[in-house]
Symmetry: C2
Subunit: 209 residues, 2 copies
DNA sequence: TTGGCAATTATGCAAGCGTATAATTTAGGC
DNA sequence: GCCTAAATTATACGCTTGCATAATTGCCAA
């Protein structure tokens, strides 16, 4: 008579977080097709039935994992801003530097991001999450750009600010992808320098560092 | 007594090409998980058993499809370069405009690209293909930027040209992704205008159109 | 100490998957 | 016009998947 596996009760938050972390690990290691209910449960140290207790469907778990990933990436770029001087130009420069340097630049994160992008066009939930996180990031960038320009006495026109944010966001996205996908083609310092100089020319600003 | 489905014999090349095309269609429409043997066979207008007659395993078919996709994308972008005007400034502007407008901007291409990106960090062959196509594209852009700058009497410094190409490539990639992923957030004209203006400021150039 | 309830495990199921193999049809050489 | 080899269809098998449900266990209140 095999004894039933012993277990510990965990708070709802902790369990959900553990399941999401296990999901992201599975996707990062073997792609979305490797993130089966059984594999996720194994990695999280629970049995598969528990997943359905916290997420009505696997799709729901995947969407939650995507949201966690994206907000994590966004916050990674914003996290160390508090260490920088309040000067708007230094803040913008620091933000740009963070976005194209480790730990934001990371092959694992890149693989997860690519997996998510693939789902966005056909899964409404994923699309909504992407839209929200994309706009949140872009709005932060737009505000920072506007403050930096004002600090330099070059207040942007109404539509100009939006265009700067769209282009700046695209620039950071592209550099992040390149740095994450082919890291040995660039040194960390080079990427940072290219990003800062590109923003300087884009905004006609002199940025510190 | 149901009659057995009638069929036509096709040349090996044609059948392999049809199966690969059907595979890419399936991936574009429903992601890799939708590219099942049965779905591919249905879309190709054959029965599933035939697939194994041309490809020993499904993995082999997927690999062939990815190779076809990547070489097709590379050749497509290189071919479009020849259709552009000879004047360096108009040439660069036209190239930028094309890169952020249909048919280059295309949800199907985006989905396929995301599926490939996902494999790059894990699969050395995919990584090699990506590296080669990325560098080929970037080198072409670098040459066009250098010619445009020279035409405007602003020859770039040695390291400057590389930095412009990396940043410009990142900018185009990012805008292409945004436009493909959230098309209703931008009008075609807006994206084109943003891209051209961003390059004008980045390179300190006046571009036509 | 002990109920009781929610958290967790355990088991089962139907559907879809890739693959194997046998049966049949097509097309071309003779 | 038939005969043969290859192309294609048809069928079946074993496995994995996501999901459902029953059985058990851990924990907290009383």
């Amino acid at each position: 008579m095999n004894a039933r596996r012993p277990y510990k009760r965990e708070g709802e938050e902790a369990r959900r977080a553990a399941l999401i972390r296990a999901t992201l690990d599975c996707i990062a290691e073997g792609g979305p097709q490797a993130a089966t209910v059984r594999a996720i449960a194994l990695k999280a140290g629970v049995t598969q039935g528990l997943i359905r207790h916290y997420f009505a469907t696997k799709e729901e778990l995947i969407a939650a994992a995507h949201e966690t990933l994206m907000t994590g990436l966004t916050e990674g770029s914003l996290a160390r801003l508090d260490d920088l001087p309040a000067d708007p130009l230094a803040r913008l420069a620091g933000f740009i530097g963070n976005a194209v340097s480790p730990p934001v630049v990371d092959p694992r994160a890149m693989a997860l991001w690519a997996a998510s992008m693939q789902l966005v066009p056909r899964d409404p939930a994923m699309r909504a999450v992407h839209e929200a996180t994309y706009l949140a990031f872009r709005d932060r960038l737009e505000a920072m750009i506007a403050q930096a320009l004002r600090a330099a006495g070059k207040a942007p026109g109404p539509g100009e600010s939006r265009a700067f944010a769209i282009a700046g966001n695209a620039l950071l996205d592209g550099l992040w992808i390149e740095a994450s996908l082919l890291p040995e083609h660039f040194t960390e310092g080079e990427m940072k320098s290219i990003a800062i100089k590109a923003f300087e020319r884009l905004l006609d600003l002199k940025l510190p560092e």
